[in-house]
């Protein structure tokens, strides 16, 4: 079984592909067989961050049944141990993945055999993005210190929270419990998921307990990217605190990555950042984040066995 790290964050431009690419490089350098998958079907970028302009295979070959196994769409990179499934040459219509195709893709990803599989998710909180984010319990969230980015983080987490509750309860059970909860206390809405869960637990202690346990399995991680000198370096840990206190989800702060113009340069040059600017502040920040994530690694980062 592989460790799967979905990397998401709601807002575009926060550095999801950047972080995925560079974490992948570090994992590969430490000798782990690592696969990066670009799940941002519509607006794929990961190949550029890795410095591969024209990958000759893509994930749509698998979705459109051109090839039988997902494994056949993997391309190797110039970095030993680092493999890649690209979305670069996808057909334009793949952004709207049908439910069946998505489930097939999710199953196929969990069956791949690598040490680490990193999923670069697209922006937004559509079901497609969220379901890939929930493929394992150890999703990594990327945000900047701007309110626009932070509000999307909260949005994404709440979507995951509600989706998990909906998944655990079958549809009609959920509707029944949710309506009953709202009747008891008008504040128990989906926008207030921890309170909703609390009231649900009062109505049906047995189901409530199951829900609570399944939510407690999540161990999210947060990276604060593009931190500028004038920003408050504690913002990341405060965001984690809000989520732990008000949603009762586990959320670990991994670290800050400094804002650095070299990142822009490396992307313009279409070269991996860690390769051309290994001695910058941002590069050492990424290495520290890597150390933190790997040391937090727990068995729970294995994929769920029950995706159907």
């Amino acid at each position: 079984m592989s460790h799967i790290w979905p990397i998401g964050g709601g807002k575009g431009g926060t550095g999801k592909s950047f972080l995925t690419g560079n974490l992948g490089i570090l994992l590969a350098k430490h000798g782990y067989r690592t696969l990066l998958v670009d799940i941002d079907f519509g607006t794929a970028n990961l190949h550029t961050v890795l410095g591969i302009s024209h990958p000759d295979k893509s994930i749509s070959d698998f979705v459109n049944k051109k090839v039988g196994a997902l494994e056949e769409t993997v391309v190797s990179t110039t970095i030993p141990n680092l493999y890649f499934i690209s979305s670069a040459m996808n057909n334009l219509d793949i952004a709207n993945l049908a439910h069946e195709q998505k489930m097939k893709l999710l199953r196929s990803i969990t069956k791949l055999s690598y040490d680490y599989i990193l999923l670069d998710l697209g922006a937004g909180t559509s079901f497609n993005t969220i379901d890939f984010f929930m493929i394992s319990n150890s999703g990594i969230l990327v945000t900047t210190s701007e309110p626009t980015s932070i509000e999307n983080i909260y949005r994404l987490i709440r979507s995951v929270y509600i989706r998990k509750i909906r998944q655990e309860l079958k549809v009609h059970n959920f509707r029944f419990l949710a309506e009953e909860a709202q009747r008891r206390d008008s504040r128990a809405t989906e926008n207030n998921p921890d309170f909703l869960l609390y009231i649900m637990k009062e109505i049906d202690p047995e189901r409530g307990k199951i829900l609570e346990l399944s939510l407690r399995d999540f161990i999210f991680k947060l990276v604060l990217n593009q931190l500028r000198k004038e920003d408050d370096p504690n913002i990341g840990s405060l965001i984690c605190k809000i989520i732990e206190r008000h949603l009762a989800l586990k959320m670990q702060f991994i670290g800050n990555i400094s804002f650095d113009d070299h990142v822009h340069n490396s992307i313009c040059k279409k070269m991996p950042f860690l390769h051309i600017y290994p001695y910058t502040q941002a590069a050492s920040d990424i290495r520290r984040c890597y150390e933190n994530i790997v040391s937090f690694k727990e068995t729970s980062s294995f994929a769920h066995g029950d995706i159907d």
Partner: protein, 214 residues
């Protein structure tokens, strides 16, 4: 875990029931920073009404806990409903004043740990060389030096502990009679010296004075 809305004052401010007033003030300030309107970290997480509600909870918690009387009353309630165990709540503890200054300029720690007198006594009584010296009728500076080195004590250590000048101690051990202090002082110094080494002070003083007289 309790959802946020059902937390008690201590849980709300993330304090333990024995928090001091300084801790309460600090906790309130930190919490307020996190939940105030302009906070970036909690931006968009709460609706304006929720934010208002949280802030008023925080204020209520702070005002209750910061006042000793209302706090004692609140603690009593928590003890009654079993949230807080009797005896773990905050009590004003009177503390002894701590002295800021240490009048000694040098610290004997720098010269190694002090050997305990009982230990020295045993060492001295078991050491054959020392026992032999102690049977002598007269005591030379070299004899004193031998006793001291057998016990593994430096001259600096004795100087530090007895407040006898190092030069005087050295003169005693080197039989440098010219710079020895007057007899009445010398006796006192020899006494301190012998006591520090835990050997019989009378034998040392009498033996050494006999030696000078020769």
């Amino acid at each position: 875990m309790n959802p946020f809305k059902k937390k008690n004052h201590y849980e709300l401010l993330e304090l333990s029931p024995d928090a001091s007033s300084i801790e309460i003030r600090r906790a309130y300030k930190n919490a307020f920073e996190l939940y105030k309107d302009e906070s970036i970290a909690s931006y968009s997480f709460f609706s304006p009404e929720e934010r208002k509600e949280i802030i008023s909870h925080l204020e209520e918690a702070y005002l209750t806990l910061i006042n000793p009387e209302s706090r004692a009353e609140y603690d009593k309630k928590l003890i009654e409903n079993g949230t807080v165990v009797e005896g773990t709540q905050y009590r004003q503890k009177a503390k002894d004043p701590i002295s800021i200054y240490d009048i000694r300029k040098t610290h004997s720690d720098m010269l190694g740990p002090r050997k305990r007198p009982e230990v020295l006594k045993v060492l001295a009584s078991q050491n054959l060389l020392i026992q032999e010296i102690m049977t002598k009728d007269t005591m030379t500076g070299a004899d004193l030096h031998a006793i001291r080195t057998e016990l593994g004590i430096s001259l600096e250590k004795i100087a530090d502990e007895t407040n006898i000048r190092l030069a005087v101690l050295r003169a005693i051990e080197e039989d440098n009679f010219d710079i020895l202090p007057p007899m009445v002082y010398l006796k006192g110094f020899l006494k301190s010296y012998a006591r520090y080494l835990q050997v019989d002070e009378h034998i040392i003083i009498n033996g050494y004075i006999k030696r000078i007289a020769k």
